[in-house]
Symmetry: C2
Subunit: 451 residues, 2 copies
Amino acid sequence: MKVIFFFVLISFGIVAQNTDSSFIRLIYNQALSKGKAYEDLRSLCKDVGARLSGSSEAAMAVQWGKERLELNGFENVYLQEVKVPHWERGTKESGWINSKDGLRKINILALGGSIGTNGLLEAEVIEFKSLVELQKSSKSNVEGKIVFINQPMNEQFVNTFNAYGGCYSIRGEGAIEASKLGAVGVVIRSVTLPMDTHPHTGSMHYLDSVIKIPSAAISTLDSEELSKLLVKGKVKFSMELDCRVFPDELSYNVIAEIKGIEKPNEIITVGAHLDSWDTGEGAHDDGAGIVHSMEALRILKELNYKPRHTIRVVFFMNEENGNKGGIAYAKRSIDRGENHIAAIESDRGGFTPRGFDCDGSHEQVQFLKTFGKNLNEYDLFHFDRGFGGVDIGPLKKSFEKIMLIGFVPDSQRYFDFHHAETDVFESVNKRELELGCAAISSLLYMLDKKM
Amino acid sequence: MKVIFFFVLISFGIVAQNTDSSFIRLIYNQALSKGKAYEDLRSLCKDVGARLSGSSEAAMAVQWGKERLELNGFENVYLQEVKVPHWERGTKESGWINSKDGLRKINILALGGSIGTNGLLEAEVIEFKSLVELQKSSKSNVEGKIVFINQPMNEQFVNTFNAYGGCYSIRGEGAIEASKLGAVGVVIRSVTLPMDTHPHTGSMHYLDSVIKIPSAAISTLDSEELSKLLVKGKVKFSMELDCRVFPDELSYNVIAEIKGIEKPNEIITVGAHLDSWDTGEGAHDDGAGIVHSMEALRILKELNYKPRHTIRVVFFMNEENGNKGGIAYAKRSIDRGENHIAAIESDRGGFTPRGFDCDGSHEQVQFLKTFGKNLNEYDLFHFDRGFGGVDIGPLKKSFEKIMLIGFVPDSQRYFDFHHAETDVFESVNKRELELGCAAISSLLYMLDKKM
């Protein structure tokens, strides 16, 4: 007992004596020497697995999240009900390219939300290089065909998210635009940079006013191959998708907090999304964000930091195909009369940190920039206007003055794994992950001290 | 002919019209859209392989380097003779931990330069946590034993090279210090951060005045295991190393240049080392540096840039175990009466660039910092005093006013692969490699314009 009391005094002593700079050093030491994030991520990836909204795995992920937050000893561990869509891939898809050069089976992956093909769908292929090129075409060209949208990501952007931004509409809107011209199916080039054989899925949409047609992704290498065959002559594409939509399911955001001692009613949220696509293990997207958020709080608690404001961690459900968790969380915040002053999201992978984006007023961006003084020595140099995150986005409507902050790690490898079977625990580097935890924990500390 | 002439005019036009900022954008576009570095690296790793000084593979690497430089159309492609040491591992090593818990075979890797064991070497193990702890021990403790130096890299450094700096002397000096106290062999914990089963080699030294004893590395996981067994009781270590030293071999630095149009006698060198350890494929160490250097020049040539100074690329031989290439290059430079104003080295892997270190005067460091203005937008923020590189180091003695510059990529994953069988082509990300080429090419351009 005496020994414990002594150690508590030492802990308080350290906290009280140290400047921001030395407290941040303690945060980094915790993350790098005594971090729990890597083991947490292993468990989420291997003990739970891929966890699309509405699946049994997503339900297990909710249980996992609640248990981990309780194990960390946070306050007010809470499940918030969220109604989520429930789409299932069914039996693994099959696809064939059928040309003068012969028949070849290729990897395909239904896009999330796609209808099935109800048996084998076969049709001649017509290629477009972009959504705009497709939109400019005509019914006489497209009718009865499978539309192949072969738009590569622009590799000249240094930040790969900019390239993604210019390209992902082929996935979301491809089926609508193709169907308007009478196509019977859509196949897209995976929205990724490397030339490899992995298809990448992701959400797609239908309009009630436009006939629904099946929609799938093929790999970049197969896209190049298909494009070359189309130069030689007619090509038929054959595919079978077994996907189905089920009634909405009850699911949950998983929430916990450390109560503020000065301003408990002012809330700083840090979060990520617990759901993932149903391929791979959702390691970078967004298992990394989940363990970043939890570990950031755990470190502050471990260092016996008593926040001025309430710091809350949220594992959002359903970012990938509906954002129902983010919307529900913002609504609950208003319903409860809460005051949200800042929210941080990590949803760009578990890579080496570069800094933070700020979606807020000019003053808020300038305020964030001042953090560089303490964080440059940790190789954090990016503090600028930018995107917060999908999950925290709805808070903006409810809280006009909220500062939304997006964690910015190195972006080079993110789309190599994004929504593909390669997004597994082994693709995450332990130190890169831990540095992300330390960066976010340091940001929470600075925000709490200075807001 | 007319068409070609027209294109040449356009090229010149672009160069003449654009500011630094837009020329650097062209460099990045070349590297990211039309880069040759990734294929060059694949070829060096797969067509040549690991290439320790004195080996047949090193001779093949020299031929490969000369051919590639000629293919790129550079001027004065030249082989400079260098006498290098020739050490061979021989038959793959074997090692066993022999304890109360039973016999277990483990992965071991002789340190470069070690003598063999001349059959099976078996002895009781004594553990030390550092070289200093070993030095403080006594003959009565150590005599007749195998010394196990189990010093982990300090994971709290954000830059892993700082942790390496604090640790690598156990590899270089371990055998000398252990032998002084009568040890019969040395086993070190691999100088790496992750907990895995891969031993990492690297150079070690002997003194003529101290008996030579065999020296090998074991993995971090096996080091932890061995340490735990030693707590329980006596442990014997058994190993067989078949290494041998052969007479020095004739080898070569491989050199090419683009002649300067204003100041051809003022030379800016960019280089990396062509040799590698004999395990893995020398992909990050230092295949990445080789293709960085070659590609940086290729891009300038492709963009039809006519440098003011002579820009020279050097593939140095024998960085890993002797630095004979670096020493010979500096000597040749003096012998030929050359004037070297700057030298850049890439020897920290093919990861996302962070910036550059400068080993030079205060004014030179300040000068380098001014480059941030044009390079911050490419996520390059590190421009500071630091280490140039082993190969270019000897130039410093010969040219007092030379500015030595070390390329600084993200350091988090470097020691995961360093000197281990995992340092293969597949461990290098294409975009990260290409961004390194663009950063170094941009630096060459800026140095050439502003010096």
